[in-house]
């Protein structure tokens, strides 16, 4: 129908509708702003706590016989070494089996198998970490590790590392599988057409082509391992203190488990010199480490992608 007389008012929206659409816009923006605000608050809280600690602590206390916050002994090496040991064990468990699972799912599994297995794998990722912590002390240590190492402590870094590894496997497998599947089918066909077997194609063509994704999976897995708290707290570092030791058969606290202990107040930290503030310092350290790790990961990923 052709209008015989058109004015600007005919093409205007009603005031109510304009207000409504503007309100919705503000609501969504508010929701987005909340996350930014919360992040900023966290960083500010952690940073100011950490600053209080580092500006008041005697620096010699940062290197001592172990981590005894109530006595004012804050040996960082103890926690860093324990964190590193447990994370490395975890990666030793998770990388081979995660990559293996990814290669199987992407290169070998029948589509029907994959349809069942991939969700199962991702289900494993949703097991609460507290369950794995209990699994470590109720199964890994007593039923397996004691058979090989008779003098192993009931709480020990080895079991904690293995359990963290189990936790990280699905994460690594899932990201790696996505990376492998992203490799164009045309490259597999080119390789097969030259008389390569499936295993050769996987190793010489698919693996290098997916390298950046596999590195990303490894780094994400490592971040996850180093930040894992509950498994370590239950299986290795449940105590509020830990004496410096390198043995994997002994218990030992990590950055995260020390924070958990401080947060829980098992050490009656409030009012005791700087113990409470050390929690924030550890938090800042952990945050910085994962940040650096992710940045390094980004650089590696980008460099590998640009290689050809």
């Amino acid at each position: 129908m052709t209008p015989d007389h058109l004015t600007a008012a005919d093409l205007q929206t009603s005031l109510g509708r304009r207000i409504r659409s503007r309100t919705v816009r503000w609501l969504f923006m508010g929701a987005a702003a909340v996350t930014v605000l919360v992040s900023a608050l966290i960083i500010w809280t952690v940073a100011s706590g950490a600053w209080t600690f580092i500006s008041q602590v005697e620096l010699t206390r940062l290197a001592d016989i172990g981590w005894f916050p109530r006595r004012g002994l804050f040996d960082l090496t103890t926690l860093l070494v324990n964190s590193a040991q447990i994370s490395v064990i975890a990666m030793a468990v998770a990388v081979p089996s995660g990559f293996g699972a990814a290669f199987y799912l992407s290169e070998y599994a029948h589509p029907r198998v994959r349809r069942v297995m991939k969700p199962t794998l991702e289900l494993l990722a949703s097991v609460p970490s507290v369950v794995l912590g209990v699994f470590a002390i109720s199964f890994i240590t007593p039923s397996i590790l004691t058979n090989f190492f008779s003098d192993i402590n009931f709480f020990n870094k080895l079991a904690a590392g293995i359990a963290v590894g189990l936790l990280v496997i699905p994460l690594i497998a899932s990201i790696s599988e996505d990376a492998l599947r992203a490799v164009p089918q045309a490259l597999r066909e080119a390789s097969a057409g030259l008389g390569a077997r499936r295993v050769t194609t996987s190793i010489r063509v698919v693996l290098p082509a997916a390298m950046s994704g596999l590195m990303a999976a490894t780094i994400v897995g490592f971040s996850r391992a180093i930040g894992e708290t509950m498994v370590v707290t239950i299986a290795s570092g449940g105590g509020d203190t830990s004496l410096y030791n390198l043995s994997l058969y002994e218990s030992g606290g990590t950055l995260t488990s020390a924070m958990a202990a401080l947060g829980l107040g098992t050490d009656q930290v409030a009012g005791n010199n700087l113990a409470f503030q050390s929690l924030f310092f550890l938090g800042a350290l952990l945050f910085a480490m994962t940040l650096v790790l992710n940045m390094v990961g980004d650089v590696i990923v980008r460099r590998l992608q640009n290689r050809y």
Binding site: H110, A186, A192, L194, R204, R307, Y308
Partner: protein, 325 residues
């Protein structure tokens, strides 16, 4: 009617009886060593690639001597799951010739091409019935390892698919698999690139990524990569469809050159290309059943010169004159 041509024809029409008689007779003749076989009759540059020992004995005037048969396909069906993609294809591929497979989209020519090196094995649910004999060995018998087949029957794909590796490593990939010694690799790489008319363009940047090459160069790289393993046959699946006319021209020159050493089977959408480069042409067509499933079939197989000047089947004629497809 040309009886030689009838031998190649799959069309089940009035000729059916004398066709089957004739093909029986031919089959026995071919199996006799050194016998002159009247399986095909191209004119043109034939003496170059015929096997010399046979040509001395056989050639009647105007008739091409038997060039040896590389593939004999009998009643080949291909299924993807329950879906029949190709039906009852029977044809022979002669040595050191270029055989073109043409036809409209969905007619199964690529599917058929991928039967020759068992590439369809890689597709989940794909199944091949019938027999394809390669130098007398049925490729689809249990003992045959598809990997061994593919070392002899190489493939060039529709889209250039170099590996994300250096130019050198792309060519060296196959030879390395085949166990060629490190000290010989340089020669193999240079030889293959020279053969593929790419050496002069890339000799100064062998260590650089193959992805830096143009599309046409990438496709020649893929051809060089395929011939680096010294195959017997090279399958080409629309190798020029992603290229501009100049690059296409270079590939066509290359194909003409390569057939001195290799048997080439090429799928093409471009009929002029088939006419220019091939000795034999197989025309495929497609028919939909009442369920809407489209099954391809071989309509006509004959020397290229005949297909394009005097096709037997009206469907072939309709296609090549541009009325269909």
């Amino acid at each position: 009617m040309n009886p030689e041509k009838a031998l190649m024809t799959q069309e089940p029409d009035a000729r059916a009886s004398d066709v089957s008689d004739a093909s029986d007779a031919t089959a026995s003749e071919v199996s006799a060593p050194g016998a002159p076989a009247a399986t095909a009759g191209t004119t043109g540059a034939t003496g170059v690639h015929a096997r010399i020992d046979v040509s001395g004995v056989a050639a009647a005037p105007g008739q091409r001597p038997d060039a040896g048969t590389v593939f004999e396909c009998a009643d080949v069906d291909v299924y993807y799951g329950d879906f029949r993609a190709l039906r009852d294809v029977s044809l022979d591929v002669a040595e050191h010739e270029v055989t073109a497979l043409i036809g409209p989209s969905g007619c199964g020519k690529t599917t058929f091409l991928r039967c020759f090196n068992r590439m369809n094995d890689l597709i989940e649910g794909a199944r091949v019935d019938g027999t394809i004999h390669y130098h007398g060995v049925n490729l689809y018998q249990d003992e045959v390892d598809p990997v061994e087949v593919r070392r002899r029957v190489g493939m060039v794909f529709q889209k250039p698919n170099p590996f994300p590796k250096s130019i050198y490593d792309n060519i060296a990939y196959g030879p390395r698999l085949a166990g060629v010694k490190r000290s010989e690799l340089d020669d193999v790489v240079e030889g293959s690139l020279t053969r593929a008319a790419l050496w002069d363009e890339v000799k100064d940047r062998l260590k650089m990524s193959a992805y830096g090459l143009s599309g046409g160069q990438q496709q020649r790289l893929c051809i060089a990569r395929a011939i680096a393993v010294q195959p017997d046959v090279v399958l080409m699946d629309e190798p020029c469809s992603a290229l501009d006319p100049i690059a296409t021209g270079r590939i066509e020159e290359l194909i003409a050159e390569l057939k001195n050493d290799y048997t080439i089977i090429i799928v093409t959408h471009n009929m002029q290309q088939a006419a220019r480069i091939s000795d034999m042409t197989a025309f495929f067509s497609v028919q939909a059943n009442e369920m809407g499933h489209r099954t391809g079939e071989l309509v006509e197989y004959a020397p290229t010169s005949l297909i394009f000047t005097n096709p037997d089947d009206p469907r072939t004629e309709a296609y090549i004159t541009g009325r269909v497809g």
